[in-house]
Subunit: 415 residues, 2 copies
């Protein structure tokens, strides 16, 4: 098992030929085995309900495209969210039904708040058909506790809502108290009526984790309890593009088939993975602590994924200065930050945030790429600064923040 | 110039990192130079109006997605057409405005018939915004003469219609009298008001020609005279998927940067290309001649692309037998053909055809893949049978056709 020769055997036509529009069967069977082992399932998922894709985003788009008929179809999306969802829902003519994450509880799902969100949509003639959740969170960095996921599953079951589990950061975990638990496992362990009653689509990718081969565009989604007729529709949509790129499929096979236990290659891989994750964990602490050291800034610990998402409590003078400059307060802050320090961040308004709150999300763009291109920054930003640079980044942040706060009266006068 | 090391230099982050959502700038610049040289342009196309894509289909979908607002937006599509177009227009909620190709003139564009087609749509409240044409034709195999393209350009200019030029088979040419001429060249050579007045999007791929690296999913589209605001919208749509796969981009660079003239590598490449095209040309003749030898079957010569698209004049008994079996006549014929001979073809109804006419398109699937899977056949079929097998295929076709015609009374009795 493992390695390119093995993976290529799963591609009968070689990497230069189209595969099945769902991806090569052999690799879909491997994904089924991988999910079964990861989640301790008693039966193998159906490989024909697993589709390989050009990255997770393409999978999300196919599923939304098949699900949305018109603006009466609503998709519940967390606020803050990763903009893939708002953009795709708008493109396919559906309605976004927002639900708030609870910042005071480390960005957990506020399941009690979901019923009113659904009712508000219903009052506007919008029928909530699906719900996206992102675990570990992007941009919010939380790992959802199992109890929180169980509440979510009950909500979905009760309201007949398809769950869309964006679990692309499942390997990026920076603490031990809340390990990643897949929605697939939670539903399985809850037993009936949930195990065979809750419709779930789970997304994964080769772009994150310690692998991070995002340029190869490999991903999969697995459909659980989805009606065969819907699977067939999604297959039709996938067929329009002929086939996902084959190199990305091979990379997926490599990701889920590490070299065998006990081999030198496996030991090397595990050591490399552990080093990468240990370094990211250290950086998550440095970044979170750094933000929490700033006046008026609070930041939940980055438990997973790749980002810190601190809240900025900006004084009235900052809000006035932003208004005078014709910018949202968080955009105003982030622009000043990138202009003065070269540190690129994405304003919270790019992800949505509760009315009257301001946030930013960290990223690690080069100065040149970031300057004046904040609108595209979220599409490119992927990793925290390197460990060596982190001390400097935090110091520059602290210096900037203090100076920004001190200069507010001057900024106001200049506009 | 040429080769992997050169192409990889155009990918600053390496193949494992996201590129710009439009594709790597260096490769887009190479595509601009390639188009300028191919078409004898006086100025370089704008590389920021060239987008690299995961194959041409993804590009077509992005452009249609950006263009279609609702069912009042019409896209003119040839009949017969490649089903990517009908499927994508339906998915994005637009209206398909059909125009017929003229089988009696070797499947040329019937430009005179386009005005009534547009008027018929207008009478239904549908505004024709764009027109797809496929040159060389899929499934019809024609190469469009320059005079025919000039008429088309005038029609598009007069009616303010965006031309979408599907030119993916531009290297697959099997005769010398009607060479491939790109729409980009035609518009340039027509001069004003067309040169800067006709909006054109041209599509190309690494999946066809003598290269045929379809599993790598590489393609581009170039936008000419498209308003900057529209280009920006299409950029936004491309950004949702983060970036096209990088290996496909590298393959595009390799395709348009052959080894230098005079080198041994170039000579080898040219010899291989020439051999592939000579063999395809021979097979195009064998296939077309084979069909024309059948009773009631006529087939325009396959001037380019990869397919023969013969017309079947089925006797009343065949139509009755098909009706009794609950199938369209061409589906009935193609199913009998694959069941009895293993030769897989796609019924003309999969592409659209003039009312009361019946066709099929050739393909080269394996028996097992083809059996019972005609609905997916068009997504997988790509090449004519190999030269050695062609004699046998034609003989089996002839034998089947004669037997099919002879057995019709029996077939009727059994239903």
């Amino acid at each position: 098992m493992g390695g390119w020769p093995h993976a290529l055997c799963q591609i009968p036509g070689g990497p230069g030929a189209y595969s099945d529009s769902r991806g090569a069967l052999g690799i879909r069977q491997e994904v089924a085995r991988y999910i079964k082992e990861r989640d301790g399932l008693s039966t193998l998922p159906n490989p024909d309900h697993i589709f390989l894709t050009d990255g997770a985003s393409v999978g999300v788009r196919s599923v939304l495209n098949a699900m949305i008929r018109d603006s009466r179809d609503g998709v519940m999306v967390p606020i803050p969210q990763y903009p893939l969802y708002s953009a795709s829902i708008a493109l396919y003519g559906g309605s976004l039904v927002p639900y708030n994450l609870d910042e005071s509880k480390g960005w957990q799902l506020d399941v009690a708040g979901m019923e009113p969100a659904l009712a508000a949509a219903r009052a506007k003639g919008v029928h909530g058909r699906a719900m996206v959740f992102i675990n570990p969170g992007n941009p919010t960095g939380q790992c959802l506790p199992e109890a929180n996921l169980r509440e979510l599953v009950k909500f979905a079951y009760k309201n007949k809502i398809v769950l869309m589990a964006d679990e692309v950061y499942q390997e990026n975990i920076y603490q031990d108290s809340t390990p990643f638990v897949s929605a697939r496992r939670v539903i399985h362990e809850m037993g009936e009526p949930y195990a065979s009653g809750v419709e779930l689509v789970s997304f994964h990718t080769v772009s994150k984790g310690s692998l991070g081969e995002c340029g190869l565009r490999g991903g999969y989604f697995e459909m659980h309890n989805i009606a065969q007729g819907s699977v067939d529709e999604i297959y039709k949509i996938a067929s329009i593009n002929l086939s996902p790129n084959v190199v990305g499929q091979v990379m997926m096979s490599l990701m889920i088939n590490p070299p065998p236990h006990g081999s030198a290659a496996r030991a090397g891989l595990e050591a490399e993975k552990a080093a990468i994750l240990a370094s990211l964990r250290k950086r998550a602490h440095m970044m979170t602590d750094g933000f929490n050291s700033l006046e008026g800034v609070t930041c939940n610990f980055t438990e997973g994924a790749m980002y810190s998402f601190p809240r900025l409590r900006l004084p009235a003078k900052a809000l006035a200065a932003a208004k005078a400059a014709g910018k949202a307060p968080d955009v105003f802050y982030c622009l000043a930050l990138v202009e003065e320090t070269g540190i690129s961040t994405v304003p919270g308004s790019g992800f949505g945030q509760e009315e009257g709150t301001y946030h930013l999300r960290t990223s690690a763009l080069h100065r040149a790429a970031a300057r004046g291109q904040l609108s595209h920054a979220r599409a490119r930003a992927a990793i925290l600064p390197s460990e060596e640079k982190m001390v400097d980044v935090v110091q520059r942040l602290q210096k900037f923040h203090a100076s920004f706060m001190a200069r507010l009266p001057v900024l106001l006068r200049h506009r």
